[in-house]
Every structure is written in C-alpha cells, then in structure tokens.
C-alpha cells in the first residue's frame, strides 16, 4: 500500500486531470508541443520530471511499469524512478518489455517491438527542434504555426558540409503526420523508425520547459533528409559480443587499457533474452 501521506502516484487529482487534458490535446494534434502547468516534483530537472509527471497522470493500480535509462533497467536513475512509483502508487514494475504497460525512458525505445495498448513515456530535455536555428520562442511558435520548416534542413546541411554525411546521431528531427516537426529527443536516430506507424502510444514530457507532445498509434513519423543524402541508420562492423545480435543498437565498450573494444547491446533486457534464446 502507498503511504497515506501521498495521493496515488504522488500528484494530486487536479494536477493529473490538467496533465491528462494536455495529453489528449497532444494526441489530437500529433507532434504539436502543448504547454502545461508543470508541477514541482521531488526530483531535480534532468532526472526526468517531465516524464514522471506524464507517468503519474496515466498510471493506474493495474499497470506494470518498466523504466530504462541508457537502455538499461538498473541504473540509479531508472531504479529511483521505479522506487518512486512503487512507493507512491504501489504498482508492480518489470524489466520485460512485453509485460510492461507503461515504459518510461530517457535514451532508448526497446528493441522488442511495442504492442497495441502500451504507452511509451519519454523524458525530454530539449523539446523545441527549431531551437538550433531560432532561439526566440515567440518566433518558433510562429514557424510551427505557419509550417515554416525549410530552415530545419540547415542543420542537416551543416552536417553534410562538415562530415560529408548527416552526422546527427541523436535527437534527429522528424515530421509527424505530415505536419509538425518534432524532436524525438534524445533517442538515437536508430530508434526513429520505431516511432513510424507504431501500435503503441508515445508521450513526450519536458519538465523544465513544461511541454507535452505525442505520437498516437499508427502515425507517420518521417526523419528529415535530402534527396541526395537520404536518412540512414547507423551500422556496426560486428555483432553483440554477448548475444550475437546484428539487429540491435550497440554500445562500444573498452575491455582493457590497451584499447581493445567490444560491442554490446545497449538494450540490456533484449540482450539477456536474446542470449537465452541462443544457448539451449
């Protein structure tokens, strides 16, 4: 049972209602940043307060929560968020993607395909994709309203001019439902295609900036690119050193002080399952 001093999932019902209204609006206008009256949470910004407020507003007693940070279920941040909800909502947590009903994340979308009924909650540090080109918020609001998005490509142009390829690897801008440009921040571009026509609900919360945006199920999410420099996924020379996967986002890990390196799945739960499958 949750301690009596807290409301279920910490937030009071009024705040949850207000946030749920913002979520519904965000789902109705895919990719549009809805301002909301963000609440103070007992955690500093940067620890996922935007995501925590979203999770607190949608979670119910029957939900099973998975929290991932850098693809891993057992970092300090992931564990403290899970503890926060087991204490304040008394809900069950899980590390298994298929069993989770809500998955709160900072850096990754799980490799295991999401299903209908699941909700992904993203903790977003920088919600405004136009910030790079236009720091004034009054202007970016107009650029979104009037669909003045051509200058988004300037960022990609600069990449190609410098590196002869689009080097942006994280927070790679997408256009949602043929309309709003959205920052899928801060997932790797490797995960962008997982948003496209996904059966799950994707909610994005920025605590500091007090913005919520969303991708409803089965929505087009297209990564920006040039005709002659199309969007490409990163590739690795080897496979995962633990499970042998060749279809997974890999982290490079140094194994000794001589610079020997191996590649290992960033999604630890996927890696564990995959390794289990391969060893009879």
């Amino acid at each position: 049972m949750p301690p009596l001093s807290y409301n279920f999932a910490y937030l009071d019902e009024q705040s949850k209602k207000m946030i749920r209204r913002a979520i519904l609006k965000a789902l109705a206008i895919p990719g549009f940043q809805v301002p909301f009256g963000g609440r103070e949470m007992p955690l500093p910004y940067g620890w996922g307060t935007g995501g925590i407020q979203l999770t607190a507003s949608v979670i119910g007693p029957d939900d099973r929560l998975k929290v991932i940070d850098q693809g891993s279920d057992d970092t300090v941040n992931a564990i403290s968020i899970k503890q926060f909800f087991t204490k304040t909502a008394g809900i069950d947590t899980t590390e298994e993607t298929v069993k989770a009903t809500i998955i709160q994340t900072r850096h990754r979308i799980p490799e295991t395909p999401l299903q209908k009924g699941q909700i992904m909650v993203f903790q977003v540090p920088i919600p405004e994709p136009l910030q790079f080109i236009e720091p004034r918020q009054t202007q970016t609001a107009k650029m979104h309203a009037f669909e003045e998005y051509g200058s988004m490509h300037v960022k990609l142009y600069e990449d190609i001019a410098k590196f002869d390829r689009i080097a942006t690897a994280f927070d790679y801008p997408v256009q949602v439902h043929g309309r709003y440009i959205m920052s899928p921040s801060p997932i790797p571009k490797y995960d962008n295609p997982k948003l496209h026509q996904s059966p799950a609900i994707h909610l994005f919360g920025a605590g500091r900036e007090k913005r919520i945006y969303a991708v409803p199920p089965f929505t087009d999410v297209i990564s920006l690119d040039f005709e002659d420099y199309p969007f490409e996924l990163e590739q690795w020379d080897g496979a995962c050193a633990v499970c042998g996967s060749q279809n997974s986002f890999l982290d490079e890990i140094l194994t000794d002080d001589k610079g020997t390196r191996v590649f290992i799945c960033s999604d630890t739960e996927y890696c564990k399952n995959n390794a289990g499958k391969n060893t009879p």
Binding site: F146, E148, H153, V154, E158, I160, A161, K162, E227
Partner: protein, 263 residues
C-alpha cells in the same frame, strides 16, 4: 482578403498614407510613395527621422498604425498590412529581401556561409544538397567572396564581406524587391565603395527593385534613382536623386546636403 487583379503596369510596391505611432510618439506619418519594377528608391534623413521605422513597417517587422502597403505579388496585388498573416509571411519570405545594418542580425553567425545562403532555398523547398551547394558557390562568386570560404563561419569574415554575404543570402531566391537599412554604415569608405559596386552590378542584372534607407547622401546618389527626404517622421521633399542633391528646395534638405559636402 484584399486581392486586386495583377497588372504589370501597376507599381511593384505602393505605400499609401502609412503611419506608425509608438504610443503618443510619432514614428512616421502619412507616408505615400510607389516603387516601379527595377527602380531603386532612397529614403534619406538624419537618425530619428523615422526612415527605419518606415522600412520596418514595409517589411512587416513593425505593425503600422494606419495606411496600406500594396505589393504586386505573384498572387496579385496584396495589402501586406491587412491580409492573412500566413500569406504575408510567405510573400515576404519568397519575394522580398531584407538587409540590415548589423550583419550579425541578418546572418546566422553560428552557421557557415553556405548554410546562410542555402537557408532561403531550403525554406522554399529545395531538398537537393548538391544543388543548394552549387547555388551557394555561385552566389559567393557573384558577391566577390572566395568560394573557398563556403564552409567558414561569417564571424571569420570582415565587415564588408559579412554585408556582401548578407546580400547574397537575400538574393539567392530571386526576390522582387530588396529592403536595405543602412547597409554601408559602419564600414570604411573603401569597403563601402566595393559594396556599392557589387550592389550596382547585381541590381542592374537582376531587374530588382530596392528601397534603401541611408543617412549617407553619397551612397544614395550612387545607387538611387529617386530620393525621399524624411524629417521628424514626414516626407519633406522628393524627386530624382541628382535633382534633390544638386538643387535641394527645402531648407532641411539644403542642410543635409551641405553637411555632407563639407570636407
């Protein structure tokens, strides 16, 4: 929406009884004039005479208090003060250019020269990197910047180069009219001369109209066909540039001219 029919015999741009007040303070009052295609108009006066306010109202950067700015756009004659904001922004983005005195306001200083030139192309839908690159290189050459500098940041450029880059970034999408606010001020005389030279070549080759706001009558004489002299927010004298500068009628204009002609 205020769309009249498109007509080539109409002026490209017509300002009608335009006024701008800042509270009780007068910015500019009851200004009317017209700009024909390929015509270069100069608006001269001391600082505080309201000439930059007038330009900002025409450019849609300030909302005028009264009056109209009619523009003979590709979709007909539009009153830029009255029509739908989305349409005005599109017209301004695609058919006008705006060069400021301070290049750091007109350019994105953290983006390469090529990116600055390419921005308007991309904003207007160009999605081919090589084509954008080609256009940027060509425009650098046209404004006499070494195309080898295409990937350098504008902050590494001299003041004169920054102004020429700003001009290229505005001309790249072939606007019908350029609005320029003191583009030469703050530059050395020799640097000014080169900028004016580049501008003259471009203007004559592109069939481009221009409204140039300047306090520098020498610059106005070199570039402008006609001049409007502003004092305390109002036009006090207008006419052909040579006529105004050689034979000013109004005492205020005579003062302006004589102060410049003094060594």
């Amino acid at each position: 929406m205020s769309v009249l029919q498109e007509n080539d015999s109409l002026p490209l741009l017509e300002v009608r009884h335009l006024s701008k007040f800042f509270g009780k303070q007068l910015g500019c009052h009851d200004i009317s004039f017209a700009v024909s295609p390929a015509e270069v108009i100069g608006v001269v006066g001391e600082s505080g005479s309201g000439k930059s306010t007038l330009l900002d109202c025409i450019a849609g950067r300030l909302k005028s208090s009264n009056g109209a700015v009619l523009f003979n756009s590709s979709v007909g004659m539009l009153d830029l003060c009255r029509c739908d904001e989305a349409l005005v922004r599109k017209i301004i983005r695609t058919q006008t250019g705006y060069v400021t005195q301070n290049a750091s306001q007109g350019l994105k200083m953290h983006i390469s020269a090529g990116g600055n030139i390419g921005e308007k192309l991309m904003a207007n839908g160009m999605r081919n990197y090589r084509q954008i690159r080609k256009e940027a290189l060509a425009w650098l050459a046209k404004v006499e910047i070494d195309p080898g500098r295409i990937d350098d940041l504008p902050s590494t450029f001299s003041g004169g180069m920054q102004q020429r880059l700003q001009i290229a970034a505005n001309l790249v999408n072939a606007p019908k009219i350029m609005l320029m606010d003191e583009p030469t001020s703050g530059l050395d005389v020799s640097v000014q001369a080169r900028l004016i030279d580049v501008l003259r070549k471009l203007v004559s080759g592109l069939n481009l109209s221009m409204i140039l706001v300047t306090h520098d009558l020498a610059v106005a004489r070199l570039l402008c066909h006609r001049l409007y002299v502003m004092k305390q927010g109002k036009i006090v004298e207008s006419g052909l540039s040579d006529q105004i500068l050689d034979d000013p009628r109004q005492p205020y204009t005579q003062l302006l001219v004589s102060s410049v002609l003094k060594p």
